[in-house]
């Protein structure tokens, strides 16, 4: 098994190289440049060309790519054109913000989604099940950003319960004060995101439970004289939760990806917002760094999911 995991990790290397070349080229293929509009508007065209030249942006792509790779191995992802700061530092700060929000949202998603899904499947066609189904249909059909804007408007502006922008109050006292301020900032976007993303879990779990309820092994358990309540506890719930764990790997590595919608609408300075603004400002160094990171996390997530599956499902063995 360890051999397989190592092999899978090694396969990631050529994948990353291929991905990085692709991302590098795509970023370059975007029209526009990083300087127009961000420097003195009276700067001459010749000056911009000069800036492009000294930044190596007129070099052939393979040379630019090679320079970038060499720097990468020195832990240097270059300077952000927009922020004039090292990319690593910018991404690092945003990653921490995103992690706060994403961990909260994911924990809430599973904390609410799992029991609700199990309940809906256990009490199929009951009143509560119908209510849950209506809820899932609504969240499936209403665009996420509409919910976010509405939530922001109602709970942020009208009721004023939560802060509406940012990740922390700049006046917050250091230590405990800053932690409390951070939590205040993630509750609303985190909950809205959780209430939205738990839909998938609820629907999936519900149908898994219903399927399992009609399975032969459940009939066997009942014919042993196991009371229905225990059949659900020992057989149905456990077996239904299994497929959900398959997505856990992605969920864990996906935490760093951030949510473009949530972070944009709540002006939350995380990875998602950084990604969108980097594209808008043609901040090539940031874009390539982020896409590469997302790609790497995705590959890691796949591997992690496979390992988790093998750990919890006796039928799956990584050979």
């Amino acid at each position: 098994m360890w051999k397989t995991i190592l092999r899978r990790l090694l396969i990631i290397i050529p994948e990353i190289i291929a991905l990085s070349i692709l991302v590098f080229l795509l970023a370059k293929a975007m029209p526009g440049d990083p300087f127009t509009g961000s420097i003195n508007p009276h700067a001459s065209l010749a000056h911009i060309h000069h800036l492009m030249r000294i930044n190596g942006l007129y070099d052939p792509w393979y040379q630019q790519y090679w320079n970038w790779v060499v720097h990468l191995f020195h832990g240097n992802l270059g300077m952000s054109y927009e922020y004039q700061e090292p990319v690593t530092r910018i991404v690092g700060e945003r990653a921490i913000n995103t992690l706060w929000l994403a961990v909260f949202a994911t924990v809430m998603t599973y904390a609410i989604g799992l029991p609700v899904g199990l309940y809906a499947g256990r009490h199929q066609n009951s009143r509560s099940d119908h209510a849950i189904r209506i809820y899932t249909y609504v969240t499936l059909s209403v665009p996420f950003f509409v919910v976010l804007v509405l939530g922001l408007w109602i709970f942020g502006y009208m009721l004023g319960w939560f802060p509406t922008t940012g990740s922390i109050n700049t006046n917050a006292a250091p230590g405990m004060g800053s932690v409390i301020s951070r939590i205040q900032h993630i509750v609303l976007p985190g909950l809205l995101q959780a209430f939205f993303s738990l839909t998938g879990i609820v629907q999936y779990l519900r149908s898994e439970v219903i399927d399992a309820t009609h399975s032969d092994y459940v009939r066997t358990a009942r014919s042993k004289g196991v009371p229905v309540r225990d059949v659900f506890r020992h057989h149905i719930f456990r077996n239904s939760l299994l497929p959900i764990t398959a997505t856990a790997g992605y969920a864990i590595t996906g935490l760093l990806g951030g949510s473009v919608f949530t972070e944009t609408i709540f002006s939350y300075p995380g990875m998602g917002l950084l990604f969108v603004s980097a594209i808008n400002y043609r901040d090539y160094t940031v874009i390539t760094a982020l896409v590469l990171l997302f790609g790497f996390l995705n590959m890691l997530g796949t591997l992690l999911s496979d390992i988790i599956m093998a750990a919890v499902d006796p039928r799956i063995r990584i050979e």
Partner: protein
């Protein structure tokens, strides 16, 4: 003797109807059967004739919201149909064990073999953990699985089909039930394993003095094992009697058709007899009259009874409807 008398199952006029789009359709109607201990009663019929439904009705495994069950199932002095869920749970697994047909899907894929066998003991005995472990090993041994210590740690997918069927049997006999219901226990297995499993069932029966209801569509299996036979068609018993009576003197056209469609080693031609048509679906089932009539269309309507009942033709041998009297196959003179 009094104890002996109690140890049997008396099924009287049992009907099971399923709700389909708001209406009830009978899958089993007016079935009566007696099963004594030390006896194997085979229920024979093709797919969809209601034999498995009868088994799950006895076990009380139907959702009461979706089914309507009538009649009486008397077992050891009480009517199973009047018991509530808790009372049934004390009987299921303890007094009646059930063996299911597809041993792979009948076992929980995520639980170890040993735990699945032990589960029944957890609910029906007051054994200590160590005693239960010992009993599980004993059971695995009894059903003829080699390396019991290893197998109880394994998962269902790690065993062969025959071994899995043995595990399913071990589960059913864990609490030494008085009655075993075996629902096509050999269907999923190849022929050599089939014989082993049937022998195993007979051995267990001798040891426990249990009664066995053997549900099958395989007449070969019936001939080898059964004492009594009930032939079912479209939810009804159409003929019943001792195995000898049924095989030596089959009367009902359906029984005769079934026997005729068995391959014979000394027959002159290679063609198998095929019964015309198929069992109608629950919704399309003829509600009155002889239900087999549509499949023997050459028999005139006057041969059938308007409301077919069971007729005793010799002691213990009963046939439904009157169409058996002058019945001939089309190719018979």
């Amino acid at each position: 003797m009094a104890d002996e008398e109690n140890h049997f199952l008396k099924i009287e006029d049992v009907s099971t109807a399923f709700k389909i789009q708001g209406k009830y359709y009978p899958a089993v109607s007016d079935v009566s059967l007696d099963i004594h201990n030390d006896e194997i009663v085979a229920i024979v019929g093709e797919s969809g004739c209601g034999k498995s439904t009868l088994a799950t009705t006895i076990m009380g495994l139907h959702d009461p919201a979706e089914t309507k069950i009538g009649g009486k199932i008397e077992f050891e002095g009480q009517d199973l149909l009047t018991l509530n869920e808790d009372q049934m749970n004390k009987i299921r697994g303890a007094k009646i064990g059930m063996i299911f047909q597809d041993p792979l899907s009948a076992l929980n894929p995520l639980k170890r073999i040993g735990d699945q066998i032990q589960e029944g003991l957890d609910y029906h005995t007051k054994m200590t953990e160590a005693e239960k472990k010992a009993r599980v090993l004993e059971l695995v041994n009894q059903v003829g699985i080699p390396h019991p210590e290893r197998v109880i740690r394994q998962f269902p997918h790690e065993l062969s089909g025959g071994m899995r069927q043995r595990v399913v049997i071990a589960i059913a006999i864990a609490c030494k039930p008085d009655l075993m219901i075996a629902d096509e226990p050999t269907t999923a297995l190849d022929v050599t394993i089939q014989a082993q499993i049937l022998d195993l069932l007979k051995d267990i029966q001798k040891e426990n003095h249990a009664g066995i209801i053997l549900i099958t569509h395989d007449l070969g299996v019936v001939a080898e094992t059964a004492d009594e036979v009930a032939v079912m068609y479209a939810g009804q018993v159409v003929e019943k009697g001792s195995a000898k009576q049924i095989f030596d003197n089959p009367l009902h056209p359906y029984t005769r058709s079934l026997l005729r469609s068995m391959p014979q080693k000394d027959s002159e031609n290679d063609d198998l007899y095929v019964i015309e048509g198929s069992v109608p679906s629950l919704q399309k089932m003829p509600q009155d009259g002889c239900k087999f009539a549509p499949r023997i269309p050459w028999v005139p309507a006057s041969e059938h009874e308007a409301h077919p009942t069971m007729h005793e033709v010799e002691p213990g041998h009963r046939v439904r409807c009157t169409c058996y009297k002058n019945f001939k196959f089309q190719d018979e003179a």
